[in-house]
Subunit: 264 residues, 3 copies
């Protein structure tokens, strides 16, 4: 017997029952193993949702279906999408949310969700996560062919994290995500730093006019308590942290801030 895996990512918040409403609808239709990626994406923050999904979805077993719902355009002419890739399947709104994850995995095919037989009836105008994306996910897990949901399209809305510039020994990027520890995670990937081993290096970085010289080390505990450090985080991006402190609060940095780094 093959297991069926279904994940959910949303901005509904853990204090709401909207995630449970999606799960209830799924379990009426299919007997899947359900995993929450997170429901605490900042409200309406498509970019944060896309980043978290792209870090997390590729780790799941092949064939996992991921429902992503950061969807300020629900109930308008905004389209719904099914995206297939080499190993994972994505369902959600056509607003860029699913694209970075799908591109990272590769071999991407995009279908527009138009077949109303695969949707819940009656369908609310304000909750496609429950009434469209989840039923489609369940039907796919039950073996429905991809092209039964609707036609293939190529004019979907895209989104990327590639606004990185390199000039000499300097790299300019962007803060993409702040985690609960206050780690400042940038869009600068590990593979742009391969010439710089994270041992005994000093790195200079700046946000706006403020700049700092800090050690570039393999992990947080390689500097003293409450000292700042740079490291490669667990999703292979450059990040700035304070050992057992909160770098984002200390430096007053938010997602979207520009960051510039320089190896000395």
């Amino acid at each position: 017997m093959t297991e069926k895996y279904l994940t959910f990512l949303s901005d509904f918040g853990v204090n709401s029952s909207y995630p449970a409403q999606m799960k209830a609808v799924a379990l009426r239709l299919t007997n899947a193993h359900i995993i929450d990626i997170t429901h605490d994406i900042q409200p309406h923050n498509i970019r944060e949702g896309a980043f978290v999904l792209s870090c997390t979805a590729p780790l799941f077993p092949p064939g996992t279906v991921h429902v992503g719902v950061v969807d300020p355009g629900v109930g308008t002419s905004r389209r719904g999408l099914l995206i297939t890739t080499k190993s994972q399947i994505f369902i959600g709104p056509d607003n860029g949310l699913l694209i970075p994850a799908a591109k990272k995995i590769g071999d991407m095919h995009v279908y527009q969700l138009t077949n109303e037989k695969m949707m819940r009836f009656p369908r609310s105008k304000t909750f496609d996560g429950r009434d469209v994306f989840t039923p489609v996910a369940a039907h796919l897990l039950n073996g429905m062919a991809f092209d039964e949901v609707g036609d293939k399209i190529s004019d979907f809305i895209t989104l990327d994290f590639d606004s990185i510039q390199k000039s000499g020994s300097s790299i300019q990027g962007e803060v993409i995500y702040i985690d609960r520890f206050g780690n400042i995670i940038t869009n600068i990937p590990k593979n742009m730093l391969t010439n710089h081993p994270s041992e005994n290096a000093i790195i200079e970085f700046s946000f706006g006019k403020k700049s700092y010289k800090i050690p570039f080390v393999p992990s947080y505990g390689h500097v003293s308590l409450n000292q700042m450090l740079a490291t490669i985080g667990s999703n292979d991006f450059f990040e700035i942290s304070i050992n057992q402190g909160n770098a984002a609060e200390e430096l007053k940095v938010k997602p979207g801030s520009l960051v510039s780094i320089n190896f000395l």
Copy 2:
């Protein structure tokens, strides 16, 4: 093979391990698929818990057992209940929490939990969710007859959201729930508004002395960014929102506030 579904709703908070303690006890007794409805009901807020349960439980597969624990009276003479309905089964305290969900589904039968053989031993005086409601749920999922838990009763404590008045073109109701997006959800059901299609209508509503004229539309994205709107939410209640903003914060409205609406 039939799947067994068990849900939990409580005010324990996601930062506590009380939900996990209930799940551990359940899994010792039965092999069920466990789903959290939410554990972030405001502490001791039976009314909020009852509303969330009534919106969510009916969506689950028939035969699902729902354990609800918003239970300030735990350890007193407060009784425990099993409620059967046409499709769902509810277990929790006799304080009204389970009633709106059960009434909504219909064909309600109420039993008092008195059979100590179905409870955990030793039993804490402060955690019936773990020591009474969960073991009873597990035994029911394992096939125990309903009347083995105790006798049928009819003098249970009731609770409803029906304090709605209609006079001419005006409807008075109550704010029942604020979700994470700041959507202000009232107890005014969709079916009281069937004469008013949510297209091109202007609605006047007031909280206390303040009143507003806003569009009544199918969904949030039908008005400009940060504009206020009225709509029918995904659980079929009248709600007031701000497109990608937070209406409850903006209007300083809380659950329990009275609301009056008028179609112009």
Copy 3:
């Protein structure tokens, strides 16, 4: 068929996808029933994590594997551990986190995680929860022998909650945990109070210079609304509460505060 149970406890926060990343890795390797104990341990608070784990893990079915990740020393020379006990299995960092739970259950054997074949490759320096502890957990659930992970050791780091002193009718202990209701949970166990039935007793307790005389009762609802009380909580520790209020906020008490109690 025997069910496989896998739990996670961490300080990653519910708003992060780090828990989902661990689950994804687990599900690639084994088909287990996954339960979250909590992911909202205060960042880096090993002592709080150890307390919550020790209250919760023993309740799970025998053979359950528990992955605990409160791990400020990740990526340093800090070792990883597998601990077997009479009924539960623990995996996590060698920083004391797992010890109180394991000691409570008894028959504890400790192995150091050194076999890299059981780890993820490539392995991040900052996320052993995903790259070491979870894969080891999955392999154990699949039947791997305990001693395949590495050698038995006895010089692990320990941690306990036993700093309790008794002098005459007075007991000095420590606040270990504050739950969402503001209940102040101490390390003073029920069995030190067996001579004092929680009926009709008055107890005196003090934090620092402030002292209070309050009723010692079976549960919260045995005093009037908003009245302070002492009781034995659901994990068998002495606790101080306010009926439907928040005792920790009211008394400004935090974990680590010393408490002294006296029966009158």
